[in-house]
C-alpha cells in the first residue's frame, strides 16, 4: 500500500514538467457470487471477519443487524439483499467491510469475498450513462477495466446513504 502511495505521489510531483498526472483511484475488489465489485478505498475504514450479528427487529430486511466493532455498535447491511440478489451465505471468505461515509456514522456491508486492491486511472473507468441506469444498476456509477477483468464500481452514497425507509 505504501508503495502504491509513493508511486502516486511521484506522479503528482511530475506536474511541474507539464506532465498531467492521471487521476488514480484505488478500489477494493470484492465479490458477490461471480460478479466483481469495486469499493472506493477512501470510504473504507476497516475490513473485519464475519462475526455474530445481532438482529434488530422491525427494520428493513437488508439491515442484517448490528455488530460490536471495538466498543462501537455498527449496523451491518446486506448489499445482496439490497440489490435483490439471493441472501448471503456465510463462508470462511465472508467479510464485513466497515465504511465511513460521514463523521461518526459507520456502516458495515457484507461481502462474499475480498480479493485485492487495484489502481484505476480515470481512463480505465467507464461511466454508466444515466439512461442505462435502471433500478437495479442504480448502485453502480461506472465500470472499471483492469487485467483481472471488469469490476462494477459501487456508488456507495446511493447504496448506503439511502437511509432505512420505514418498512
Amino acid at each position: 500500500m505504501d508503495e502504491l502511495n509513493t508511486n502516486a505521489m511521484y506522479m503528482m510531483e511530475s506536474d511541474e514538467d507539464g506532465y498531467v498526472a492521471p487521476q488514480i483511484t484505488q478500489f477494493i475488489v470484492v465479490k458477490f457470487g461471480e460478479e466483481q465489485y469495486g469499493i472506493d478505498i477512501k470510504y473504507v475504514d476497516n475490513i473485519v471477519r464475519m462475526q455474530h450479528i445481532t438482529r434488530v427487529p422491525k427494520v428493513s430486511n437488508y439491515i442484517k443487524g448490528v455488530i460490536n466493532l471495538r466498543g462501537e455498535v455498527v449496523p451491518v447491511m446486506s448489499i445482496r439483499l439490497k440489490m435483490d440478489l439471493a441472501d448471503d451465505v456465510e463462508t470462511k471468505a465472508t467479510r464485513i467491510i466497515i465504511l465511513k461515509l460521514e463523521q461518526h456514522c459507520n456502516i458495515g456491508i457484507l461481502v462474499d469475498e475480498v480479493k485485492e486492491v487495484v489502481n484505476l486511472e480515470e481512463s480505465q473507468i467507464e461511466r454508466v450513462s444515466y439512461e442505462a441506469k435502471d433500478d437495479k444498476s442504480n448502485f453502480i456509477y461506472g465500470i472499471g477495466k483492469y487485467d483481472g477483468g471488469l469490476i462494477s464500481l459501487l456508488d456507495l452514497n446511493t447504496v448506503a446513504l439511502d437511509k432505512e425507509a420505514v418498512s
Binding site: 445481532t54 427487529p57 427494520v59 439491515i63 448490528v66 460490536n68 455498535v73 449496523p75
Partner: protein, 728 residues
C-alpha cells in the same frame, strides 16, 4: 483576515459576556450605585466590543461601542442610572443577541444597524445635565479628531519594538536571515487591559508567531512574559518569510489582543527607525553592513519583489492606522479596577474528548463484565476462584469510581440555563402588567451536559405559563387576599439518582372544570368520559398536543404548542413531568430527570435465542405464572395480578423472534410500569441484573420504536435495549 476558526470561541465568549451583562444590569436596576457592578458591566461591554471588532463585525462593534460610552459615563458618575436607560440597555442586549444568532447561523451579523438604539444611547449621553454634556461632548469628538492626526508621530510611541536593544548573537541571527532572504519584523503587541490571563494571551501570540517563523528576541524577556511581568504590551522581533500583514494578522487573531503594531526591520524602508535602533547599539556599523549587503543581493535577484516590500510597508501603515481609532477609547479607561472580582475560571473541554473518555470507561466496564462471565463459568478450583473474585471486586470498585468521576466532568450546574430567567420574568412583568417576583434555589444542582442543554426551553415554557396563566391579575389577588406581587419559585435539588426541578406559583391554579369543558367542546373527550375522569386525569389533558386553555392568545403563551412539547422534550431525556394544583392557591410543576443517561442498571433477559436488556427503572416486579392464569379481554391476553388486570405482551411476537413455543406452561413475566399503567412482558429466561453502557444504534437504524439503544455484553456480543415505555 480569516477568523473563521475563532468563530466558535467568539460565539461562546460573546454568549458568556451577554449573560453576565444581563445579570449585572438586572443587579444595577436594583442597586444603581454599586461600583463593582458598573465596573463589571463596563469590562464585559469593552471585551465584547474588542471581540466583535477583531472578528470584523462592524455593526456589533458600533453598538457595543456606544453602550460602552454610556457605561463609561455612568462609571465616572456623570450619568445616573435611570429606568428608561435600563430598558434601552436591555434592548441593546437583545439586539446583540440577534447579531449573535445571525452569526451563529450564517457567520454574518446581518444588516440591522439598530440605529434607533444607537440614537437612544447617544441621547442618554447627550441628554443629560449640563455638566454631563460637557463631559460627554469632548469625549466623542476626541475620537473623531484623532483619526486624521498624521500617524508619523504615533507609530513611534506605539511601536515600542524600535527601542529593543539587540545583542550580538541576535544581530548575527538577523544578519543570517537577511542573507537567506528572510524578513525580520518588529512587533509591539498590546493586550487588552481587561484581559485576565495576559501571560496566556502572550503565549498564544508567541505560538502564532512560531508557526510563521522564529522569534529572535522579546522585550521583556520570554521568562518575564511567562510570569506576567509586563504591563499591557510587549515587543518581539520575528524572523519570517511571510509578509508583515500575515504576521500581524496572526498576532491579532489571538483574542483579547487590543492591537499589534509592527514594521519590517529594513534599512531602505525605515531609515529613521533604523537610526533609532542604531543609536542605541554599540556597534551600529557591523549590523548595517550585514543588513545592507543581503538587501542589495535580494534586489538584484528579483526586482519584482521590491514592490511587495513597498506594499508591505503601505499595509504596515494601514495596520497602524486602524488600531488608532480604537486606541483613544481604550486609553480613556486607564483606570483598571484595583480589586478584580473573583471571576469564575472555567475550563472548556471539548465534548468529543469527554465522549472518548466516556468510551474508555465503558470499555473498562465491558472488560469487567467479561471477567464476571468467566468467573461464573470456571469456578472449579476454589482458591483461584476466591483470588479471582477479589480481583473482580477491585476492578468493580475502580470502574465505579472512574465512572463517577467522568460523569462529574460531564456534569454542569443548571445555573447556565436558569440565570437568564430573572431577566425573562422582568420583561414578562412589564409586558403582562402583573407584579411578580422570581425566587430561584438550587442553581448549583448539576446535570449531565446534554440534559442541561435541552432543559432550557421546557423550563422557560413552564415559567411563562406560570406568569401568564398561573398568576392572577392584581385585583383578583387582592380579592383572594394574596399579596399584590405574585411569586414564582424555581427550585432544583437532587433526589437519589434523580434531579427534581420544580416550578411553582402562588397563582390561581388550574381550573379543572374549565379544562373539562374545554376538552369536551374541543372533542378531546366525550361528556361521558369526563364524568369518569379524576381531576388528575383532566389536568393531564393539558399535556395533549394543541390544548391551550388561554382564553385569549397572548404572545407570551397560549398558542397551544406548549405543554405537549414540554412533555415530549422531558420524556426524550428519560424524564417525567407532573403537575399538582389546587384551584385558587397555585400549582407546582415537577420535572424529574435522571442524573445520567449513559450507564444504567438493567435486567438481561432471553427471548428465543436473543438477549435483550430492560432498564431496571421501568421494572416493577417479576412474576412466574402458568398458562391457566392467562385470561382474555377483547381477545387480548391479560393476567390478573393481585387485583390488577395487566395486559400481556409476547415479546417473541412483538419482536418477530422465530421460536417454537414450548409446551411448558410456566411463563416468566416481567411487569413494567409507565406512569400508572402496567404491562407484562413474557420472556423465556432471566439472566440477571447488570450495569450496561448505552450505545446508540447509529443513524441507519432509528425506525424501530421498541429499541432504545444497544449495549455490549461481556462476551463482546451486542444486546439491544428494550424501551418499555414504547410498549404501551
Amino acid at each position: 483576515m480569516d477568523v473563521s476558526q475563532y468563530l466558535e470561541i467568539f460565539i461562546d465568549e460573546t454568549k458568556e459576556h451577554l449573560q453576565s451583562l444581563n445579570t449585572q444590569i438586572l443587579d444595577l436596576e436594583q442597586d444603581s450605585e454599586n461600583a463593582d457592578t458598573i465596573n463589571e458591566i463596563f469590562r464585559a461591554a469593552h471585551s465584547l466590543k474588542g471581540m466583535a471588532g477583531t472578528m470584523g463585525y462592524k455593526r456589533m462593534q458600533n453598538l457595543t461601542h456606544d453602550m460602552e460610552n454610556v457605561f463609561s459615563e455612568v462609571r465616572n458618575g456623570n450619568i445616573k442610572v435611570k429606568a428608561n436607560m435600563i430598558d434601552i440597555l436591555f434592548q441593546c442586549l437583545d439586539a446583540l443577541e440577534e447579531y449573535l444568532d445571525n452569526i451563529q447561523s450564517s457567520a454574518d451579523e446581518g444588516t440591522n444597524d439598530n440605529e434607533p438604539l444607537i440614537k437612544a444611547l447617544n441621547q442618554i449621553l447627550a441628554g443629560n445635565e449640563a455638566e454631563a454634556v460637557e463631559e460627554a461632548a469632548p469625549e466623542v469628538p476626541e475620537i473623531k479628531e484623532e483619526k486624521p492626526i498624521p500617524q508619523a508621530v504615533k507609530p513611534d510611541q506605539d511601536a515600542k519594538w524600535t527601542t529593543i536593544v539587540l545583542g550580538d548573537s541576535e544581530k548575527t541571527v538577523i544578519g543570517k536571515a537577511f542573507e537567506q532572504g528572510k524578513k525580520v519584523y518588529g512587533l509591539t503587541v498590546y493586550v487588552q487591559e481587561s484581559c485576565i490571563l495576559k501571560a496566556a494571551r502572550a503565549f498564544l501570540v508567541f505560538k502564532a508567531m512560531e508557526s510563521l517563523g522564529e522569534i529572535i528576541v522579546s522585550s521583556p524577556s520570554a521568562q518575564d512574559i511567562e510570569d506576567e511581568q509586563f504591563e499591557n504590551d510587549f515587543s518581539i522581533f520575528v524572523l519570517s518569510d511571510r509578509s508583515l500583514e500575515e504576521v500581524i494578522e496572526a498576532a491579532e487573531s489571538v483574542s483579547e489582543i487590543e492591537k499589534v503594531v509592527g514594521g519590517a526591520l529594513d534599512l531602505s524602508q525605515s531609515p529613521s527607525r533604523q537610526s533609532q535602533t542604531v543609536s542605541e547599539e554599540k556597534e551600529p556599523a557591523g549590523e548595517t553592513e550585514k543588513s545592507v549587503q543581503p538587501e542589495a543581493g535580494r534586489a538584484k535577484e528579483a526586482a519584482a519583489k521590491a514592490e511587495p516590500v513597498e506594499k508591505a510597508a503601505e499595509r504596515h501603515e494601514a495596520v497602524q492606522e486602524a488600531p488608532q481609532t480604537s486606541a483613544p477609547a481604550s486609553r480613556q479607561e486607564k483606570k483598571p479596577a484595583a480589586n478584580k472580582p473573583v471571576v469564575n475560571r472555567t475550563v472548556r473541554v471539548d465534548i468529543e474528548k469527554l465522549d472518548s473518555l466516556m468510551n474508555l470507561v465503558s470499555e473498562l466496564i465491558i472488560a469487567k463484565n467479561s471477567l464476571v462471565s468467566i468467573s461464573a463459568t470456571s469456578a472449579s478450583d476454589s482458591s483461584t476462584a476466591s483470588a479471582f473474585n477479589e480481583q473482580i471486586e477491585y476492578l468493580e470498585s475502580v470502574t465505579t469510581n472512574l465512572h463517577e468521576s467522568v460523569m462529574k466532568v460531564r456534569m454542569v450546574p443548571i445555573e447556565s440555563v436558569v440565570q437568564k430567567f430573572p431577566r425573562m420574568i422582568r420583561d414578562l412583568q412589564k409586558k403582562l402588567g402583573k407584579k411578580m417576583e422570581l425566587y430561584m434555589s438550587g442553581e448549583e444542582t448539576e446535570l449531565d451536559r446534554t440534559v442541561v442543554d435541552e432543559i432550557g426551553d421546557p423550563l422557560m415554557h413552564l415559567l411563562r405559563n406560570a406568569a401568564d396563566h398561573g398568576l392572577e391579575s392584581a385585583e383578583l389577588r387582592k380579592e383572594r387576599g394574596k399579596p399584590a406581587t405574585g411569586s414564582i419559585h424555581l427550585d432544583a435539588y437532587q433526589d437519589g439518582n434523580n434531579v427534581i426541578i420544580e416550578v411553582s406559583d402562588d397563582g390561581g391554579g388550574i381550573d379543572v372544570t374549565g379544562v373539562k369543558e374545554k376538552a369536551i367542546s374541543r372533542g378531546v373527550i366525550t361528556p361521558e368520559q369526563a364524568e369518569n375522569m379524576s381531576d388528575k386525569d383532566i389536568v393531564n389533558l393539558l399535556f395533549l398536543p394543541s390544548f391551550s386553555t388561554a382564553e385569549k392568545v397572548t404572545d407570551v403563551s397560549g398558542r397551544g404548542v406548549g405543554l405537549d412539547v414540554v412533555k415530549s422534550k422531558i420524556e426524550a431525556l428519560s424524564g417525567e413531568v407532573d403537575v399538582k394544583t389546587k384551584f385558587g392557591e397555585g400549582s407546582v410543576w415537577t420535572i424529574r430527570l435522571p442524573l445520567t443517561l449513559a450507564i444504567i442498571q438493567a435486567l438481561m433477559v432471553v427471548v428465543g435465542d436473543e438477549k435483550y436488556a430492560i432498564s431496571l427503572g421501568s421494572i416493577e416486579t417479576i412474576e412466574n405464572i402458568t398458562d391457566q392464569d392467562i385470561k382474555y379481554v377483547q381477545a387480548k391476553e391479560v393476567i390478573n395480578l393481585r387485583g390488577a388486570v395487566i395486559p400481556l405482551i409476547r415479546l417473541d411476537d412483538m419482536l418477530d423472534i422465530r421460536k417454537e413455543r414450548s409446551g411448558d406452561d410456566n411463563l416468566v413475566v416481567v411487569i413494567v410500569r409507565k406512569g400508572d399503567k402496567q404491562a407484562g412482558l413474557v420472556v423465556d429466561e432471566l439472566i440477571g441484573q447488570q450495569e450496561i453502557v448505552i450505545k446508540s444504534l447509529g443513524k441507519y437504524i432509528n425506525k424501530c420504536k421498541f429499541i432504545s439503544g444497544a449495549t455490549i455484553l461481556g462476551d463482546g456480543e451486542v444486546a439491544l435495549i428494550l424501551d418499555a415505555n414504547a410498549m404501551f
